[in-house]
Amino acid sequence: MARAFTVSSHAVRNLKRRPARTLILMTAIGLLVSTLVVAVSFVRRVESSIRATTDRLGADLIIVPTGSRGAAEDVLVENRVKTFYMDRALIDRVRRVRGVDRVTAQTYLATVGGACCDVPDTMVVAFDQASDFVIRPWLNEKLGRPLRKGEAIVGSESALNIGLGLTDMDAVLFGNTFRMVGVLDKTGTALDTAVFLDESNIDDLIRKGKPNVGPGSISIVFAKVEKGYDPREVAGRIDDSIVEVDAVPRRDVGKKVLAALGDINRIFVAFILVASLLAASLAWAVFSGIANERAREVGILRAIGAKESHVTRLFLLEVIVVGAIGSVVGALFGSALAFAPARGFLVATNVTTSLSAGERIGIAVVGLAIGTGICVLGALLPIRRTRRIEPFRVLKED
């Protein structure tokens, strides 16, 4: 039985006529879309990781030793293993500042694989369970009771655990044996990569393991402000009254990274604009070639009754098929690349937040629309020229 001629079937047949040319254009569009998807996913992921981290800390202010703000952000936002210390007596001084409601402190100890401990590089966080409001919500949910001395719980992605779901096993930290009593659920924050224990263990750790920390030291104070107080004002008050510390409102945590991200973002935008221009030019060149090559065919179609809209539809379908296939492949490739371990970007290796399925699909759909749109845009002029062909002109040239 004869296949009925349809504009769409003819468009597909035409694309098959020149597979190499079709493939080149698809590849260009695919590369553009994959770059776009990787870039947007990367930026969105880092942004949301920073926001999730600061939101989930549950504190309005973060107070660190003067000059250690960068290191603290490295720990909290980028999950890097860094230490910094200040005197424990500063907790009370912070608590006394007007507008401060509650405070809690944490001490960070950095293990070094093969040097001090039996575990790979990881951050050990000692915290005061009595005053804590940062870890406890997660701990209660998972363990249902406070941590005892000699017990530790690991983050879902800590180097000690790495997805093993460790419970009821021993690990040696700074010469002390700790029983791992559980794994915290994934929080999407820096908590995921650390090991947590009660601060009552600190003296033993210092005595046996000799970490680089003296007795009576803490690393960070988390503070909640009283209702009606502006965290920024309270932070200013702390900075003014306690020279040994820097107070950072929650919203300002990660600003440095976000600013750097803004620069990366601008580079991405510039790159994508240039790539879009190149892809559109390629589509223009390819479809100009196709238009010239098929002028006679279009002339015959027009002579036997095809309207301008039929010709437009024929070429548009071709360009949409090329653009859409290229974009789908690019979006899939870009999505895979965006969520594969990005070893080239430290900030990406350390972010723990994943984008939701909805966000991923949204980014892929936007990439698909942009890729197809750029392809169509590039081909518009040749299509416009072709559909206006006066049949007689091309037929006479034959």
Binding site: A2, A4, F5, K307, E390, F392, L395, K396
Partner: protein, 226 residues
Amino acid sequence: MACLVAEGLGKRFAVGGGGLRAVEDVSFTIESGEFVSIVGHSGSGKTTLLSILGGMARPSSGRVLFEGADLYSLDSDALSEYRCEKVGFVFQFASLFAVLTAKENVMLPVTFRSPALPPGRAEERASELLGLVGLGDRAEAYPSQLSGGQQRRVAIARAFMNAPAVVLADEPTGDLDEQTEEDVMRLFLKMNEESGTTFLMVTHNADLAGRAGRRMRMQDGSLHEL
């Protein structure tokens, strides 16, 4: 009733710095059901005139009336509908689509018709027309599998697909052998007699031209009755 009326038709092409007059002040009337032949040397303007009448080339001057309506006052879509539904055009060169079979090529004009023929009916008609041009058994062959003459006959069948009121044939038997040429001419005459289709045929062949009810000669862009 007048089927086609040409009034003072002229067509000028820009060539280099000057212009070339392909058709000059041509006027005539063709009644419905007439069979008209036009003879003339190469370059005398026959194909250009046929294209103007077929709605494929806008004249530089004058106008064409089809069943009383001025063709070139129609918008682009209406002119396409005229080419699709009222006119069957037989080109002087092979004009088939290589990726379509003979039957698909014949069915092609149906695609642009509004409303379209049901696929079954279109296929039936295409088979019937291929049978009329003696290619009933070659319906599934691709143009590359057909001889030049067979391709020409497929193109003739295609021109009849939408049952046009007028067929404009430009050297329709140009590369056919004598027997096929005779078959095609008989087919044209039969269609003309049985369905009242109007024919305007351009040919170099004086014998074929002589079998038309009315003959004209084109010379240097001007048309004369014979």
